[in-house]
């Protein structure tokens, strides 16, 4: 993981050096070409001047021979004079019989004025060719000069560049490596810190120095993930604690009732009573386990919906009729109104379960002589079922939690009255399974509205 090859730091440095290498090579290449061209131009200029000097020294003797009077000037003179028909009229001694290129005629278009070539003695020369009037005849003069100086100078420059390049790359590599370490240091410390944040310390967060830079974004995202993780972890812990409490209570009751009955002896009637009491707890446990099973199957996501077109008003009426007697007992009015045409494509049983749970909840928590109103409608392509009661309402701090499992607004409510606190969780799951959601609205007026919102064309 942290081997030399694969750390981000090494890869960054290598990439950096590689890119710089390409840039520097390009730069060196361009510089060399430019340098070479300017050296050659300079040589051509001096050759031009030399030719002018030499032209002044060319003379024709009485016997028609060409003579070049170099006087006491030292140095190498590479000179040829050609007739315009292409015969060699003169050649300086230093050329030792070697030609400065192919024979040349006047106005030969294939013959450039300046060119480089290699003599038979392997010497590289730069040659200038120019027509020259000599007496009454036209001649062509060719003057050469050795390129050795130029080449030496160029070689020096190039070797200076070639030596400098690795040194520069090396320096850049080292600096880059350390710069990368500096830049990546926050990442390292974030990773270290993240490793320390385990299940027991989920409340800790990464320290973010600058929330606006890239590292800050990463840290922010990580902290958000931690928050979500902490939240679901807390929920799970609370759920486990609540579930075991709810399971333990009836178990404890059964156990103590049974143990006491065994101690006391007692008559048949008493024993019947004890067994009945134990069976009540068994019944409660059975119900609880049934609900938990539904929720766990819902959590696993493996709950195939048996879909059909469900007319919501009929379903709401059916659910209300089911619970009507409970409302009657409390002298509450329970009415269902709304749009007959609203249908959703859903699982009738699961939707009914959700509706029944919410209406049951409203009946349970509304006072005697209260009124509960169920309204079916639609809005923005969603089907709505609103269950409004005029009960005492739900305090703001509880609203977000009423759908949590085992959550009871009033902790003091007995299990007889309040159930296990799973009804609304199951209701919410049923609605969510249909791609919908339940909104809870408690305004200034007394009471609350549970609004089930279902997409009409879900699935």
């Amino acid at each position: 993981m942290r081997s030399f090859r694969t750390t981000l730091r090494t890869r960054l440095t290598l990439l950096y050096v590689f890119l710089l290498c390409i840039v520097l090579l390009g730069y060196a290449g361009c510089t060399s070409i430019f340098l070479w061209q300017s050296l050659v131009r300079e040589l051509d200029l001096s050759l031009d001047r030399d030719l002018e000097t030499v032209e002044n020294l060319i003379a024709v003797t009485q016997d028609g021979h060409i003579r070049v009077d170099t006087g006491d000037q030292e140095g190498v003179l590479l000179l040829e004079i050609w007739s315009h028909e292409g015969t060699l009229l003169y050649q300086s001694e230093q050329l030792k019989g070697q030609l400065l290129g192919s024979p040349v005629m006047k106005d030969d278009p294939s013959h450039p004025a300046n060119r480089s070539l290699r003599l038979a003695s392997n010497m590289r020369v730069r040659v200038i060719t120019r027509p020259h009037g000599l007496g009454n005849q036209f001649t062509v003069v060719r003057l050469g000069v050795s390129e050795n100086v130029l080449r030496d100078e160029f070689a020096q420059m190039v070797s200076a560049l070639a030596l400098g390049l690795p040194a520069a790359l090396f320096l850049v590599g080292i600096t880059g490596y350390f710069l990368a370490r500096r830049a990546l240091q926050p990442l390292d410390s974030m990773a270290r810190r993240a490793r320390q944040i385990s299940a027991e310390h989920l409340n800790e967060r990464l320290v973010i120095e600058n929330p606006d830079d890239e590292l800050g974004h990463l840290g922010g995202a990580f902290n958000q993930t931690l928050s979500r993780l902490e939240h679901s972890f807390e929920q799970l812990q609370r759920f486990t604690a609540d579930a075991s409490h709810e399971l333990r209570t009836p178990l404890t009751a059964m156990r103590s009732v049974g143990e006491v009955a065994l101690q006391d002896g007692g008559d048949t009637r008493y024993h019947h009573d004890v067994i009945g009491s134990m069976l009540e707890e068994v019944y409660r446990l059975t119900r609880l386990v049934d609900s938990l099973l539904i929720l766990s199957r819902a959590d696993s996501g493996h709950f195939p919906l048996q879909r059909s077109a469900v007319p919501l008003l009929d379903l709401a009426t059916e659910s209300a009729v089911l619970l009507e007697v409970l409302a009657e007992e409390k002298k509450q009015s329970l009415e269902v109104v709304g749009d007959q045409t609203v249908t959703v494509n859903g699982d009738q049983l699961i939707l009914r379960q959700s509706l029944v749970a919410i209406i049951h909840n409203a009946v349970k928590y509304s006072p005697t002589q209260g009124s509960i109103r169920v309204r079916v409608g639609s809005e923005n392509g969603d089907a709505l079922v609103e269950i409004h009661d005029n009960g005492p309402g739900i305090p703001p701090e509880h609203r977000a939690k009423v759908f949590e499992r085992f959550y009871r607004v009033d902790k003091a409510r007995t299990r007889e009255e309040g159930g296990a606190g799973l009804g609304l969780s199951i209701a919410e799951w049923g609605v969510k399974a249909h791609g919908g959601r339940i909104e809870l609205e408690c305004g200034h007026e007394p009471g609350c509205t549970f609004r089930i919102r279902l997409p009409k064309s879900f699935g």
Partner: protein
């Protein structure tokens, strides 16, 4: 009536066999799928109660093999799984009914009676318990000759209780048979209790002896003799 019970859990097996014997059935208990299979093949039974989760050979396999051999005996499956797929699997294998654990014993009794009764049409037009009389065609109820007004649901409830007179009826049975509720998580207990209370007011308040009895922890029962 001979019943074969195939159940691996000893406590449950013993309770089932004793409970059924108390109801007047002859009971044979098998504790593994293999045993159950051989006993079912070698003896003749009127009904088989078969647990699905069995060691060795599970109930569904046993049932399939028995049905392939042409055995026509009604089979009641017992299982701890209540997902719809599991039910379908059991019924496809040839089961006649299906009961999810943990179940109430009265419910098992009712299901067994229903399976044994099957095919025999009954043409009862009226039911009677003591001085309580129900006319099923006119849907009228009288006690001591006095007319009692009942809602449709209360009538169905009373009919169910009278038909099962002397036997305990659990809330689950009422939810399933009267309210046609398939999910056990639907909160019907309060609803049922309220209906029973109303029925009791109408049927018992002004009359003696009291007929509607609550059997604590189990359910309700209609009976003439007070205990």
């Amino acid at each position: 009536m001979n019943i074969l019970v195939v159940e691996d859990e000893p406590k449950v097996g013993k309770a089932l066999s004793e409970g059924l014997k108390a109801n007047g059935y002859e009971v044979t208990l098998a504790q593994t799928g293999e045993d159950g299979f051989f006993i079912a093949n070698s003896h003749s039974f009127d009904l088989i109660v078969l647990d699905v989760m069995l060691p060795g050979r599970n109930g569904i396999e046993v049932l399939k093999t028995l049905r392939r051999q042409g055995l026509q005996v009604p089979v009641l499956l017992l299982t701890a799984k209540d997902a719809v797929e599991d039910r379908v699997l059991g019924l496809d294998a040839g089961a006649d009914d299906y009961l999810v654990k943990p179940f109430a014993f009265p419910e098992l009794g009712a299901r067994i009676r229903a399976l044994l009764r099957r095919g025999k049409t009954e043409s009862v037009l009226s039911l009677k318990l003591g001085t309580l009389e129900m006319d099923l065609t006119t849907r009228s109820v009288t006690r001591d000759g006095k007319n009692i007004e009942l809602t449709l649901r209360e009538f169905e409830l009373l009919e169910f209780l009278v038909r099962n007179k002397g036997r305990v009826v659990s809330r689950e049975m009422l939810a399933r048979d009267i309210w046609k509720e398939t999910s056990r998580a639907t909160p019907l207990d309060n609803v049922i209790d309220v209906h029973i209370a109303r029925l009791r007011r109408k049927v018992d308040d002004e009359f003696e002896p009291k007929l509607v009895r609550t059997v604590r922890g189990v359910g309700f029962m209609l009976s003439e003799d007070e205990r």
